[in-house]
Symmetry: C2
Subunit: 331 residues, 2 copies
């Protein structure tokens, strides 16, 4: 992007041009030092628009009908005149059929909607890089005037925590299950879900979906109430993306929760805390990046890690060795 006109790009993003937004996200995804500098300038130029989207984190394992849901839910929102951006956060470089957004064509109605913007996850991303890129992409979508930013994740490893750290609400999408271990729900996710939506509440699966809703509603009641929750939250609800049923009810719950949190100061507080956490995380990541930058040090870390794992070295001693080498190198 030699000769990039950052001011012009910022104008395009602020004007809501999808092509400018796409270019801007490509810029923040780049790891090149000159691109990083331009990305910083761009974000500075876009600061202070005063625009605020509702940022909704959405997680669901493959097979729950996530792409169908996002399309139906997104179309409902654009039908109300709202502008909707969909971002994927997928730290796995393999992308083994999990992320729907590797394949935009599976949401072709929404992709063609002028009020919608869909952006797949960049490939070969590491968790640290994904975090920064995603936070900045959310900021860009917000500056571009989108009303709702859906941040989709496939529900593997730590990606939910990551997404929860940049979302105002967190929605977990499930399929009707036998109530047993079929769902493969990560245990920690109950910690962060504001709304559990059981999809496929249609046809033969409807009774099973309603049972699953009741099971999860029961499980949610066992958990401690969070300060940022009004009575009754987190909730479990049935939806049918196929029949487009329950979507308005789900949206209404999301708005009610967001409104309650705004009225009670939790919305702004959580965003401020997220910003501070983002700052502190970037400092830590920047420091730890030194371990990655130096190939010799990296090799030493790996060898010592193997020795520790095999029981040939004590963890503390091995760590002290690495730190001493680091001090010496920088001394």
């Amino acid at each position: 992007m030699t000769g990039l006109d950052v001011a012009e790009l910022a104008r395009g993003v602020r004007g809501g041009e999808r092509r400018a937004l796409a270019r801007a996200i490509t810029l923040v995804e780049s790891r090149r030092a000159d691109h990083r500098a331009e990305a910083g300038d761009l974000l500075d130029a876009l600061a202070g628009t005063g625009r605020q989207a509702l940022r909704i984190g959405l997680s669901g394992t493959p097979g729950v009908g996530k792409s169908t849901f996002i399309e139906a839910f997104g179309m409902m929102l654009t039908g109300q005149g709202l502008r909707v951006a969909v971002l994927a956060v997928d730290p796995s470089s393999a992308r083994s059929g999990g992320s729907i957004l590797g394949d935009k064509t599976r949401m072709d109605r929404l992709a063609r909607d002028p009020r919608a913007f869909i952006r797949p996850s960049p490939s070969q991303a590491q968790l640290g890089g994904v975090a920064r890129r995603s936070r900045e992409a959310v900021t860009l979508c917000e500056a571009a005037g989108y009303d709702v930013v859906l941040i989709e994740t496939v529900g593997v490893g730590q990606s939910e925590t990551l997404v929860a750290g940049m979302a105002d609400l967190f929605v977990l999408l499930l399929a009707p299950g036998g109530g047993d271990e079929l769902q493969g729900v990560k245990r920690g996710i109950m910690e962060i879900a504001d709304l559990i939506l059981v999809n496929k509440a249609d046809g033969d699966l409807k009774p099973a979906a309603l049972r699953t809703v009741a099971d999860y509603a029961g499980a949610l009641r066992l958990l401690r109430k969070r300060v940022q929750d009004p009575d009754g939250f987190p909730k479990a609800l049935p939806v049918s993306a196929l029949e487009e049923a329950g979507l308005a009810a789900a949206w209404s719950e999301m708005k009610a929760l967001a409104d309650w949190r705004r009225a009670n100061g939790h919305f702004a507080r959580v965003r401020a805390e997220q910003a501070r956490a983002w700052f502190e995380d970037e400092v830590r990541q920047g420091l730890l990046a030194r371990l990655e930058r130096d190939a010799g040090l990296r090799a030493r870390m790996a060898a010592l890690g193997d020795a520790v794992e095999a029981g040939r070295a004590a963890p503390s001693r091995a760590a002290a060795e690495v730190l001493a080498a680091l001090e010496a190198a920088q001394g």
Copy 2:
């Protein structure tokens, strides 16, 4: 500890002397540089004893009867000829009535038992420091020939994750609850619990305890099976520390789970992974400690964090500023 004879202390620990073990733990708790060096020598001297305890993490909020349970459970184990060490992990310096082990006298029978060793949590500890101290204390107890090391935590913040990272099994102790939000169970804990014990299954509370067991058994069935779990785990069981009922059954489940994991290679694998994670964590903590060591940098971090939280600075820009200052300081 000027003039400390590390070899003699190591002999005492290896000989199972409780006073030597207590002194050794005091040494690893110290943050003084000379003590850290001696602690390293001591751990080196104690490496290769080949002794392995069963490390059991135990969490429970105040009011569940944790001290009564630990005493009854510990006495049952020492009654079988086993040697039991109890360590507290409590990152909160306030210790607001949570940690039973601030008050050894509440477990005075076990404290007087020659086969038992009880060690309260050090005061004014930070999470990073608590992690290292606790891992090293567990290692010392193991070298001293204890058969079971109970690592107790009060269940606040991240302490469960910390304890799970140094335990072979994780037990959650609950009181009978109305099934609602009374328990104050941290949501993430279901992720790591191997066994949920519902205490106070005696007298008038027995029916409620059995209902709570059924509720949690149901909730556990909704969660994904973990690779390190045989069929039927994680389990929920009733116990009565007061009537000393259900303790043998709980111990039998713990042994069965540990045996299964040993037979299937998970026990050794998890320990090796824990050791590697410990090493990597120490390197990261050592690097991040630089942010703490430099008072000027610390003040700058706090001021920039405030600015970010108030919306006066962008997180990435603020982070870049700190990192640049750090590079400049180190030349």
